[in-house]
């Protein structure tokens, strides 16, 4: 579990040292998080460099627990000041603050047997993200934009293209002897062209590729061309009459449905009774074809980590299995409230209590291609973009702005915009009638194409 003293970095020693200082200052337990990161980003617009940014920063967070009879008082502090005086202030501030909070009978660190880390190389860090010289990174962004603009004469403007790279290091230590560290890397390329038709109407869309290793990025030309294709197909978008019709969610928006499943299964919403999934464990909550998994263990995944923010080894949790709700999403606190075990989904910022965070979250793919799903729709909407935050998981009410393509007789007929789609997440999950085979992890949350029946489209 803990690394040996010889291989400890300076920051690991610092984290352990702050834990000890907190205990000496009166804490019953303490948790320390240190984050350090470097970032690079450049944006290019119409061939010219627009921004170039390069920097690094670090921060430390301390959470202390003071044991009182039947529970703990907890508080936390964070700082960017690593001087001895700064760290002293961090420790003393946390203890002073904790004396003012309430005694919480459910607070406390995980049990001794629960700590651990996934073994082996999870392929989260590749130093090749910085291997390109700055001029080359700019060139990659330029190539993506140029490839987009070259696709069609109607692509007359650009919101720019960018190349980003970042590396980070995260250290976590606690007073129960856990000490862990991992590094991660990331790079991305994106393009966002603007198309204009004869009427003067403008549309913009974008496409991107991100990877943990530079060598895994899509070529800039393919990113640019895909961005152009997505932008052009929206030109001439119009509204449709208000009606009920099947809605096909493209993978990039179907992700939102998977996110809603995660949020509805989140333990804190469950113990508060603030979720449509509260009390539904073991019950059918979705169509029998639906399986949703959160997996923090996939090597190289965007949502992978060796341990969660409380020092528990990451794991794979089946949330919904063939339509049946199998597990809530839990950290130690939510698990204790519900009399269950943590699913190692603790996340945390530098300060504050652990919250719930997803790993690699996805809906398992089906057998049909996206084309086949669209061909199976007589008359309906293919959604490529959603707007707004109209998802209420207390009631399940779902209402969002949408744009995409109208389907007539299994074919794309014309683009649509300025409409809404609405329903209730409870019904939407049960009314999933088709699941695509096109699951692809472009980010930590992924979904294949989904078709949902019975939604209301509001337009003219």
């Amino acid at each position: 579990m803990a690394t040996t003293a010889e291989t400890r970095t300076d920051l690991q020693s610092l984290a352990s040292d702050i834990v000890i200082r907190a205990l000496r200052a009166g804490a019953s337990d303490a948790e320390v998080t240190i984050r350090e990161g470097d970032e690079f980003s450049t944006t290019v617009r119409l061939g010219e460099v627009e921004t170039l940014k390069e920097s690094g920063s670090r921060g430390v967070g301390l959470r202390v627990l003071l044991q009182v009879d039947n529970g703990y008082r907890v508080a936390s502090t964070s700082s960017s000041d690593f001087t001895p005086e700064g760290l002293e202030h961090l420790v003393r501030g946390a203890i002073a603050l904790a004396r003012l909070t309430s005694v919480d009978p459910f607070a406390g660190l995980p049990e001794p047997g629960e700590y651990g880390q996934l073994p082996g190389d999870l392929r989260l860090y590749h130093d090749d993200v910085y291997s390109l010289p700055t001029e080359e990174r700019i060139a990659w962004a330029r190539r993506a934009e140029a490839a987009a603009m070259a696709v069609d004469a109607r692509l007359v403007n650009s919101d720019g293209a960018g190349f980003d790279a970042a590396t980070g290091r995260r250290i976590f230590a606690n007073s129960r002897g856990f000490l862990g560290e991992y590094r991660s890397s990331y790079c991305s390329i994106a393009a966002s062209p603007i198309a204009q038709d004869a009427s003067g109407e403008m549309q913009r869309d974008y496409w991107w590729s991100q990877a943990r290793a530079f060598r895994d990025l899509d070529p800039p030309e393919s990113v640019g061309q895909e961005a152009a294709r997505r932008t052009l197909r929206l030109l001439g978008a119009r509204r449709v009459p208000t009606q009920q019709a099947p809605v096909v969610f493209a993978p990039e928006v179907a992700r939102g449905i998977v996110g809603a499943v995660f949020d509805a299964a989140a333990g804190d919403a469950i113990y508060r009774g603030a979720s449509i999934f509260a009390g539904k464990l073991g019950e059918s909550v979705a169509a029998p074809s639906v399986t949703v998994v959160d997996d923090g263990t996939m090597p190289g995944g965007f949502g992978t980590s060796p341990f969660d923010a409380e020092g528990l080894p990451s794991r794979r949790t089946v949330i919904v299995e063939r339509g049946v709700l199998r597990s809530y999403i839990l950290n130690t606190y939510a698990a204790r409230k519900l009399g269950l075990k943590s699913t190692a989904n603790a996340g945390r910022g530098l300060a504050g209590n652990p919250f719930l965070d997803s790993g690699n979250l996805f809906l398992e793919p089906g057998a049909q291609s996206a084309d086949e799903i669209v061909r199976g729709v007589d008359r309906g909407l293919y959604v490529t973009r959603l707007m707004g935050h109209g998802v209420n998981l207390v009631t399940g009410d779902y209402s969002r702005g949408a744009a995409g393509l109208w389907i007539e007789n299994g074919e794309f007929a014309f683009p649509v915009q300025e409409i809404t789609i609405a329903g209730n997440v409870r019904d939407m999950l049960r009314n999933i009638t088709a699941i695509g085979s096109d699951l692809e992890f472009r980010s930590a949350t992924a979904a294949p194409t989904l078709c949902i029946d019975g939604m209301t489209i509001a337009g003219e």
């Binding site: 010219e48 627009e50 921004t51 170039l52 940014k53 390069e54 920097s55 920063s57 670090r58 907890v74 508080a75 936390s76 502090t77 964070s78 700082s79 960017s80 000041d81 002073a96 603050l97 904790a98 003012l100 909070t101 309430s102 005694v103 919480d104 607070a107 700055t134 403007n157 919101d159 109407e201 913009r204 978008a237 208000t242 508060r272 009774g273 300060a351 504050g352 707007m387 707004g388 935050h389 109209g390 209420n392 207390v394 009631t395 009410d397 209402s399 702005g401 744009a403 915009q417 300025e418 409409i419 809404t420 789609i421 609405a422 209730n424 209301t456 489209i457 509001a458 337009g459 003219e460």
Partner: protein
């Protein structure tokens, strides 16, 4: 009010060092360079299930250095304010330019303006127990409101942000900006129905603000009232209809429908649906919209923006005609328009850009009752969650969290959450009545753009739109 002493005394910054950093920043040429020092101290308290479960405090300090050369911006930042690291960041930012060194203007001119918000107390910690009292009072008040209230979460958060800006054009500005907010979230249950309600408010105020009329009891009652109301809400209607927006927070309509589209960066790049429409009608003649960074104690207000420019009141739409954009230094220079003091950034780690402050529609003459009475069948929306806009197509949404049907001029049943959608350059042309009851929101707004969040305000009188699409299910 000598805020600059903070960085001078605490971090050893001096005018000489500022000049050296600016000189280094322009060592490879460039038209302009600036330094942005920031130190933020924040406190946040959270109550859940009637106990204070979380309390945290943080400090974050750093400096961002920018070099502008034509339309190009180089940027670097450091969380270590030693001369060494500052000069290194300046050299990194300088890489954007490639030419002979430029000299910054000699000597600084300080931007001064009467302060719009209270100077901070010397010892913020002294108020901690008073802050805890606020969240506990909110909990009691919400539970007292109705026996169907099952869960209450209340939070209090404040920050004190100190900034110092020095630029190669001689700009020198400093400010100390308080910001406080309390929020209450309530769940109510009746049989198998569960509903939520939330409320909150604050501004650039001290804790004393919450001992007045807008205290924990007010916000708790509002949150509880909304949750109880939602227990009996019926499905929202779907389709195009007359919509009446209540006063205050529904002004988020303006923020999304026109505000973002008038930020100068989008118009300089001609990526906004509003590009080229200055002097043209973009709203009904009854509509006048302003952005005003100089309202005392408001959440979106600033004495100086994050480029050291004085903030101001800017007319965006006057009698339906588009008058102006919201600009920062870069877009003002490149577009040859006045700077409106709207250059803002989330933190020292980010490049500033044009952002709104407090955006609102001026009052009209109609009585709100008359406006409602004029509607045959429509929606009366009085509170909203967030919104979003696609600048280029102009399409925007905002989500109603408290709305009612209007039937034959009468406000009837409450309806469930629904998103409203419209087209920015067209939506306000359908404004047919403007109320005499202008109100600003309670002070909870946070606006996101390109990954940067900044506090903002919105406001509006009661307004009737003859047409808007409501995204319900019925």
């Amino acid at each position: 009010m000598d805020h600059k002493r903070y960085f001078f005394e605490k971090f050893g910054v001096s005018e000489r060092l500022l000049e050296r950093c600016l000189g280094e920043a322009l060592s490879a040429g460039g038209d302009y360079a600036d330094l942005y020092f920031e130190s933020v101290a924040s406190t946040s308290l959270g109550l859940d299930e009637s106990i204070v479960k979380s309390a945290s405090q943080g400090v974050s300090t750093g400096c961002g250095i920018r070099v502008v050369s034509g339309e190009r911006t180089g940027y670097a930042y450091t969380d270590d304010l030693s001369a060494d690291r500052l000069l290194r960041a300046a050299r990194t930012a300088a890489l954007i330019a490639s030419g002979p060194a430029r000299q910054p203007v000699q000597g600084f001119t300080e931007t001064t303006s009467p302060s719009l918000y209270p100077a901070p107390a010397a010892d913020l910690d002294a108020d901690l127990s008073a802050k805890l009292d606020l969240v506990m009072r909110a909990d009691r008040a919400a539970r007292r409101y109705d026996h169907r209230v099952t869960q209450v979460r209340a939070s209090y958060a404040d920050e004190l942000r100190r900034i110092l800006i020095a630029a190669s054009d001689g700009t020198f500005a400093s400010d100390t900006q308080p910001l406080a907010r309390m929020s209450v979230f309530v769940l109510a249950r009746d049989g198998d129905r569960t509903a939520r309600g939330s409320s909150g408010g604050g501004g650039r105020v001290e804790i004393g603000y919450f001992t007045g009329a807008k205290g924990p009891e007010f916000f708790a009652a509002e949150a509880a009232r909304t949750a109880i109301l939602q227990l009996g809400a019926i499905p929202a209607p779907a389709g195009e209809m007359e919509v009446v927006l209540g006063p205050g927070w529904p002004g988020v309509l303006l923020h999304e429908a026109v505000g973002h589209g008038l930020e100068a960066d989008f118009n300089r790049r001609k990526t906004s649906a509003f590009a080229g429409l200055i002097g043209r009608a973009v709203a009904s003649p009854k509509v006048t919209v302003v952005d005003n960074g100089r309202m005392p104690s408001r959440r979106g207000s600033l004495n100086v923006d994050d480029e050291g420019s004085s903030t101001q009141e800017t007319v965006l739409i006057e009698g339906g005609i588009l008058r102006g954009y919201l600009s920062d230094k870069l877009s003002a220079r490149l577009m040859g328009i006045p700077s409106t003091g709207n250059g803002r950034r989330e933190s020292y780690q980010q490049i500033p850009m044009p952002r709104m402050t407090n955006t609102y529609m001026l009052a009209g003459e109609e009585a709100p009752e008359d406006i409602l009475r004029s509607v045959k069948r429509g929606l009366y929306a009085v509170n909203f969650g967030g919104g979003q806009v696609d600048i280029t197509s102009g399409k925007f949404v905002f989500s109603a969290s408290e709305a009612y049907l209007i039937e034959d001029g009468k406000v009837t049943a409450p309806v469930r959450d629904a998103t409203l959608i419209g087209n920015g350059p067209e939506a306000l042309k359908h404004v047919s009545m403007v109320g005499n009851d202008l109100a600003l929101d309670e002070g909870i707004g946070t606006c996101g753009k390109d990954g940067q969040s900044v506090p903002v305000g919105v406001g509006m009188p009661t307004v009737k739109l003859d047409r808007m699409t409501v995204g319900g299910t019925r």
